[in-house]
Symmetry: C2
Subunit: 661 residues, 2 copies
Amino acid sequence: MWTFDAPPFDYWRRTYGWAPDQKWLDHVRLASVRLPNCSASFVSARGLVMTNHHCGRSCTASASPPDSNYVATGFSAGTLADEKKCAGLYVDQLQSIENVTARVRGAVTGTTPAQQDAQRSAVISQIQTECQQQTQMTCQVVTLYQGGIYSLYRYRRFNDLRLVMAPEESIAFFGGDPDNFTYPRYDLDLTLLRVYENNQPYQPTDYLKWSPAGAMENDLVFVVGNPGSTGRLNTVAQMEYLRDIGYPATLATYKRLLAIYPTLEKTDTSAARRYQNDIFGIANSQKAVTGYRAGLLDTLSMAKKRAFEQELRARIAANPQLQAQYGGAWDAIARAQSELATFSPQLRYYGFGGNSQLLQLAAGLVRVATEAGKPDAERLTQYRGPGLENIKRAIVAPNPIDTAYERLAIAAQLRAAQGELPANDPFLRIALNGRTPEQAAADLVRNTRITDPAVRQQLVTGGLPAITASTDPLIVFARAVDPLARTQLSRATALNAIIASNSEKIGQAMFATYGTNLPPDATFTLRISDGLVKSYPSNGTIAPYKTTFYGLYERSAAFDNKDPFKLPQRWVDRKANLDMSTPYDFVSTNDIIGGNSGSPVINRNAEVVGLVFDSNIEGVSNRFIFTTEVGRTVSVSSRAITEALRKMYDGSRIADELQGR
Amino acid sequence: MWTFDAPPFDYWRRTYGWAPDQKWLDHVRLASVRLPNCSASFVSARGLVMTNHHCGRSCTASASPPDSNYVATGFSAGTLADEKKCAGLYVDQLQSIENVTARVRGAVTGTTPAQQDAQRSAVISQIQTECQQQTQMTCQVVTLYQGGIYSLYRYRRFNDLRLVMAPEESIAFFGGDPDNFTYPRYDLDLTLLRVYENNQPYQPTDYLKWSPAGAMENDLVFVVGNPGSTGRLNTVAQMEYLRDIGYPATLATYKRLLAIYPTLEKTDTSAARRYQNDIFGIANSQKAVTGYRAGLLDTLSMAKKRAFEQELRARIAANPQLQAQYGGAWDAIARAQSELATFSPQLRYYGFGGNSQLLQLAAGLVRVATEAGKPDAERLTQYRGPGLENIKRAIVAPNPIDTAYERLAIAAQLRAAQGELPANDPFLRIALNGRTPEQAAADLVRNTRITDPAVRQQLVTGGLPAITASTDPLIVFARAVDPLARTQLSRATALNAIIASNSEKIGQAMFATYGTNLPPDATFTLRISDGLVKSYPSNGTIAPYKTTFYGLYERSAAFDNKDPFKLPQRWVDRKANLDMSTPYDFVSTNDIIGGNSGSPVINRNAEVVGLVFDSNIEGVSNRFIFTTEVGRTVSVSSRAITEALRKMYDGSRIADELQGR
């Protein structure tokens, strides 16, 4: 995951006997764009933008006419005039990167972490504002190496995007939750958008050409996109905390939440369908976090990580000046993590969690009333600046409250609290007061009136006096719990600040020791990752480097065409048109993570050979320690995209444009 | 793996709400036949017999005309007259089972294990001979529950078998070694033979009809066949020995042997192809033994096994009479296993192993000379009765000796011995005598003359004087090592006799406690196993209950049609004929093991829905502890067989016969 201002030319040449030059890099940088939550790229002379189906989903949904749902039915614009405006969507194109480390560091003169934090935020804000005013661009200061480098990224923003083509979700996400994060895979996870300027297709200076051959086994390929977040530079102590405290708690929460739906189904047979998206979302997070944790449970990987940390510490220790500056950082983090572990259950259960909307609303009401009376800088972080008004608006928004779900969610949360907190815990006394968790939850949900948006509006308008006078059981509950929660929160905030400032030291120490030979952790900014198209050992045999359309029909037939392996009708009706042996999805050893969705996969000629959409399950554990034995990036083949456009979606116009015909 | 004389009617009814009756069982028993190394069944009114491609391989090879190889090209007889005689092949049909436990046990009156062994062998021989004389049938006394029951099995033997149809090996064993023991799978592992009597197709009283529908998900299905060998009744101590001593040594040997071939290739580029079968065989054994060991390494399964053993021992201990008879057996076995562990390297390395033909020939020559002079009962076991003459014949047979391979195999064996035996070990002194293993192996192979069959014949004819006088370096080596080997062998034999007699006690104790509720370990005799057609969690997603022909073309295309995923030309040329969605292979939870190859899978109507040919990798570990979470039997679907016969092999005549048209 190399940054574009520190490309590892030597490493590439050493590894592959070839490296791109600066012109190549500038070209692919400008051909790449970033969506608010995904990656994408210009893939035609007339501004076609390629990304994943799941990245374009909101546009596809909002572009649908009232009587139709393009997410389910798919959409393909027959002409330019048929292309549908995506409300509110934009893409950013990275123009330049400037190192502003000296300026940021120069402004941080305080002695406490809190002072330093504030100074750092202030100077970063200032740099961004100045840049925007001077260049009219979107500017962002990116913290790399946990503060080892600060870089100013300037973007050109394009605001007029239109939907050109999206297949049915059932083919884009074929295999659904079971196949998610796995391989072999058979997904056409594609959306094609087009950038317009002045109501005309935008003609980008740089776009990626389409490879005629696609990806072959052992090909060198690059992924260019915006990986969201990795934890590769975390210390061993941080990883152990996640492995032993953080992730187990998260996984326990997912398990509790997933157990709610079968209970709901018992009284409401439509529940399963209604909650399908929620269940899917949680199950997916569960798979991901299980994967992250698997990486940390792998003793071999952790031993490597430990050895790396020991080597770095030894190098630092060998230089008295570096040792004085950075030497204490690892132990400081370890101590803070240990202390965080001591009150992890309190922090979690006092915090109005458990996926209950009502608990969140009650806490919000109480806190809005309290925080509004304070100077901005003394408020809880989220209530500062425009935060307060945003939270108020969210509280009074007339969203429906699912009380059947709420009762079970609160009960599950309280029962879990009862299992983890000591019997005499003040939160349990407030929450239960002699009742079972189920009774307490039923009482709260039955008797509260904050389910009514008008009541919430009254409480917001009434301010602190209204909150103090309220006898609503949820407000009473939140009022009593809030002080407990704040105590834990401020302890955690202080400890996390220690971790952050020491992480920054470690980032600086790493950068001082290894420079850009070690890429920084992912920051949802543009990176380039090299790799090979490559099969791997799986399930006692070999997972092939690619799949074909035969495999799509196989997997559907093997499951008797049942959900989530049911083919869209179009793919049944037009089957005979298709060249079945067309490469469909393929795998490569490139290093990616969430945020890379929609990234182009390109060959040495900077031609598109694929479209990244997932990792295999073995690759999920790469969050902390990257290995290429079995972890793989999963992409849609460029050849599948044009074949599907031509044979399934009456999209020869679009395929011709991609292929430059 | 239930025996046909103790069918678990109650268990079946309880589990499936249905059970076959005695008539059904008699019918499927008589419709089943046993090949010398596999299972098979009558599947038409005119004596068609269905088994696996790998079970009929020797027949398919020997039936090929000189200029052709049906194993590679496939074969399909257009008419009855085209069906090709299988030289030497026979099938056995089980006629009856008689419990002869009382007679066997009555004859065993000795007090030492050796006496008891001899008496048991004698009475079993006598029962078999009497039976054969009285009934003209093939008779076998089968030891069940390690001596808990002795059963006399009577078989009718059919000697005239002819080859009707066998597909190309590349489709029968599609995916080759990588896909072996795995699933999803795409193999047509089929041979069709026909039993003739008096030169006419035999018309069996009982044969299995063909299911029109095939197997559907969650169907109850039965496998009827001859599982070879399981270790389910082994004690924990026996399993731990295999896990920690036996299997690791075996796996180390496989690894050493596999390392030989790449070395050979360096000087002989044709080596890889020449040794392909050997490499394949070893790699397959490696996969299987790794799987067996995986079952023993699974802590949960072992904990269950331990709990089962504790319960059995507690039940025995609660009954003073049983405790006196059987109570000491577990500890006696554990002690013997511990002692075996102390000289495991000596036993292995003194034993002329390492896959060297020359070491085996040298040892055979020395031992034939020595054993010939002793009374039969005092000889080494394999040299008793007709054994001596068989071994002589094998020694003088003019098989070519691959000296390049031999040098490397002996060197590898000696180097491994050097790594495991103490430096002052007498074997090492004899074998190396100051040389490196490579030098010693080169000397032995270069200077021996026993590579010449005539020299071996002279040594056999010359008897002990010729052996004693020989200066051939391999004979000198074998003469010196043999006394060392015999010492270890007799220690091991004595300990194994203790294990066997105590295993018999445990078998009896189990049978006394649980009766036939617990099926006996596999003995390559007819068993019936129940199960469900069922998908299972695999690789982060779901492995479907079946595959289809789409999947065959997918897997071939995904590997660019490269070996071992290359399709026979017929399957390329005639692809358009095929109904691609025809079920191809499928999985079920039936309990099988080696020997079950070729077993029919039948439904409640005793109709053929499939043909067993493998386990998935997860099922391989069922050798010791059977579970159905993820272990599966893999079968060819009956529908794939008729579809392939009609569309690929011009075999409508045969398909019609199977389908009773």
